[in-house]
């Protein structure tokens, strides 16, 4: 079984208040190195065997239409395990 991973991130020009809140909380724990934090989403899609080119193309389309909103987000597809 393999896992197709889709990572979705807000585009750099879109304000990410959740990431900002995390960035503001880090120094309170003594972690002072972070210049910026951006928060995103990760989808893990399990398939039988090695994903086919057709399945990967389908995932690409699913990522474009449902998993991400291309107006504000970008995504990356990769295969793990």
């Amino acid at each position: 079984m393999a896992t197709i991973v889709v990572e979705v991130m807000l585009k750099p020009e879109i304000l990410d208040p959740q990431g900002q809140a995390v960035a503001a909380a880090l120094p309170r724990l003594g972690f002072t190195f972070a210049k910026e934090v951006r928060q995103g989403k990760r989808f893990e899609i399990s398939v039988d065997g090695t994903p086919t080119a057709e399945q990967l193309a389908d995932i690409e389309r699913a990522a474009q239409t449902l998993l991400s909103n291309p107006v504000i987000e970008s995504f990356r597809v990769k295969v793990e395990g």
Binding site: L15, D16, P17, Q18, L67, V71, I72
Partner: protein, 223 residues
Amino acid sequence: MRVGVVTFPGSLDDSSALRAIRVAGGIPVPLFHASDDLKEVQAVVLPGGFSYGDYLRCGAISRFAPIMSSIIIAAEHGFPVLGICNGFQILCESHLLPGALTRNQGLHFVCTDQPLIVENNSTPWTSGYTKGDRLVIPIKNGEGSFQASTETLAELESEGRIVLRYTESNPNGSKNDIAGITNARGNVVGVMPHPEQAIESLTGPSEDGLTFFTSILHSMVGR
């Protein structure tokens, strides 16, 4: 005049929207997300709430509901659609309106009586207002920050497609203080404030919202 209101799983303001249509003098028609039947309505309202629990992104799953396939096709042919709050989010996810609504700046869920300015009274939903009218209508949202590319914002501004703008304060970080927009044709309108919650002074901060519902009735009669 029959005006439909769609109930999705997680809609909250569907009954208020149906009531507002009745108070305005129209015939309210409940529509259901799982059917593609528009029941011969002449206009439709997508109400506020948290359809599908706001899972994935607000409006992202509702956009693929059977009723939405009928509404998207009809809207592309000039059928009047009003999206309120979650309805506005669904219209953006459906690409019937440009841009997207994202997490409020400051992360707070904002629930307040919000001063607004009417910027466009040429849509069938706002024809009863005068440009420059100042309204007070409740807003209640966690993801109401309107975002769009610089080009899209410039297009909305130059084509007069901003319907409502926040005034006095910007509650959620929306670009250009945008509280509501319309499509190029003017039949699809999305607003973050809740006009259906401002139709009677007994329960709302004003009666300023009722004009959305009387406007659509007058616009359709005039056709």
